[in-house]
């Protein structure tokens, strides 16, 4: 299972507590994980990626294993520790603005 940690506002929107556990088929990439997340929680569509462009929102970042993966290709393989469930993929809101 893939573990995803969402920022508080998205946990509230999706009505979840703590980490989200996702069963993701095929290659484990940013795209496949976010696709699975949006399939399971449709209310999150558009909140992490722009609906029209599918690009990550400017004020969000993807962290895992102490690395910033935000600028990796959405189709690049995520770290093995994320793929095997040892480490979560963190969706982080920027510390910015009021």
């Amino acid at each position: 299972m893939i573990r995803v940690v969402l920022p508080q506002h998205l946990r509230t929107l999706a009505l979840v507590d703590g980490e989200v556990m996702l069963d993701v088929g095929g290659a484990i990439t940013q795209r496949s994980v976010i696709d699975a997340l949006e399939d399971r929680y449709p209310m999150l569509r558009g909140t992490i990626r722009d609906q029209a462009t599918q690009r990550r929102r400017d004020f969000l970042r993807f962290f895992a294993c102490q690395e910033d993966l935000s600028h990796e290709s959405p189709d690049a393989a995520l770290p093995t520790e994320v793929a095997n469930g040892t480490e979560p993929l963190l969706v982080i809101g920027a510390i910015a603005g009021g």
């Binding site: 929107l13 209310m43 558009g46 909140t47 609906q51 029209a52 929102r57 004020f59």
Partner: protein
């Protein structure tokens, strides 16, 4: 006994205020959607328990929420606003061509006849509608594809479609307003549109009387006279009696005719309200005195309404969607400020009191009159 329910959108959440018909004691519920910008909340006139809310955030984009119990509980509905086709370009601040990009929903206008139908005015300016209670959205692209689209430009707050008025006597006719393009009308249910800006004069565009480019801040109508519209433009208060074909200025004796809100008394079609703001760069009341101005003659002659409003050291703004009227026997008037106060008058503006006073900056105010 009748009741009033006030729907307040703020920079950090939505609030629902309820009172009996006396409108003296208010119960405050909220914040709903805490931490998010709530540009607008509005109820269906067909089913007052059906509310729609525009929830957005610089981090997480746009969400649309729907309530079927008058704001007690909410559920997100569809939030995909996809322009038809290749959306093309409009003018950017520096005059260059800029691609149309969805940013947020400014205004939600439920249908007058069907609780499942609701219109959405968005930034970058376009009009969408849903006929399934928000489960899906479709653009009424005839507006954006009007030939003048490439000449539209954003105001300081963005290129937003912020006002949607439906003619209660003719469902095929609607009016919308865009900053900074102007006002437009459809007579065929949204398929085609024409600019209705003749008579407007705006010194900040190369041709002050151009057909588009005017920064219209708000338009309002009385349901009994849908051919008469009132407009608060960037500067100037305007009026038309021919459904927008021609406008004339009715600023009259206002101390400044800059402002954002304008509204019409629920029972007196010639009684209108504005909140004059000092200037386009000084977005606060003149002389630090918060004054609503009322005209009982449809413009030109205005009186200051001050009883209960701060008359010194007041430097708040009242944004374009932040005034509303109820339809109780004695018409109630409501407005919210960027200082977080919502003021109400239960006597058509003669006297005011804050019904809540320490909210986040208020973006929008609507009121429902409930039986």
């Amino acid at each position: 006994m009748s009741k009033a329910r006030v729907l307040v959108g703020t920079r950090k959440g939505a609030f629902v205020l309820t009172s009996d018909g006396k409108r003296k004691k208010w119960k405050v519920s909220g914040p709903h959607f805490a931490g998010w910008e709530i540009y607008h909340v509005k109820g269906s006139p067909v089913n007052p328990d059906r509310l729609y809310a525009s929830q957005s955030s610089g981090w997480f984009g746009q969400v649309i929420q729907r309530s079927d119990d008058g704001g007690e509980t909410w559920a997100p509905v569809d939030n995909k606003f996809a322009y038809h086709g290749v959306p093309g370009t409009h003018q950017w601040y520096d005059g260059t061509a800029h691609p149309w990009e969805f940013k947020r929903v400014w205004h939600l206008e439920p249908s007058l006849t069907d609780a499942e139908t609701v219109y959405a005015g968005i930034e970058d300016a376009a009009l969408f509608h849903s006929t399934d209670g928000g489960a899906s959205w479709d653009e009424l692209s005839g507006l954006r594809e009007h030939g003048s689209g490439p000449r539209w430009q954003p105001g300081a707050g963005g290129m937003c479609l912020h006002t949607i008025l439906i003619d209660p006597t003719n469902p095929e006719r609607m009016f919308i307003a865009i900053s900074a393009a102007g006002a437009f009308r459809t007579d065929d249910g949204g398929k085609s549109w024409k600019p209705i800006n003749q008579g407007l004069r705006s010194q900040y565009i190369p041709d002050p009387t151009a057909d588009v480019g005017h920064c219209v801040h708000r338009i309002a109508l009385h349901p009994s006279r849908p051919n008469t519209l009132f407009m608060q433009k960037h500067w100037d208060v305007m009026r038309t009696d021919d459904a927008g074909d021609s406008w004339r200025e009715v600023s009259g004796n206002l101390p400044t005719d800059f402002g954002f809100v304008i509204d019409v008394h629920a029972h007196e079609p010639e009684t209108i309200y504005v909140v004059p703001i000092k200037s386009d760069s000084e977005h606060y009341p003149l002389d630090g005195k918060l004054r609503v101005y009322r005209s009982r003659s449809g413009g030109e002659e205005w009186e200051a309404l001050t009883k209960g409003l701060p008359q010194e050291n007041c430097f708040v703004n009242v944004l374009r969607d932040a005034m509303a009227v109820d339809s109780l026997d004695e018409c109630g008037i409501y407005f919210g400020t960027t200082g977080g106060q919502v003021y109400a008058s239960a006597d058509a503006g003669d006297s005011w009191e804050p019904i809540v006073r320490d909210l986040p900056a208020v973006l929008s105010v609507e009121v429902q009159t409930l039986s």
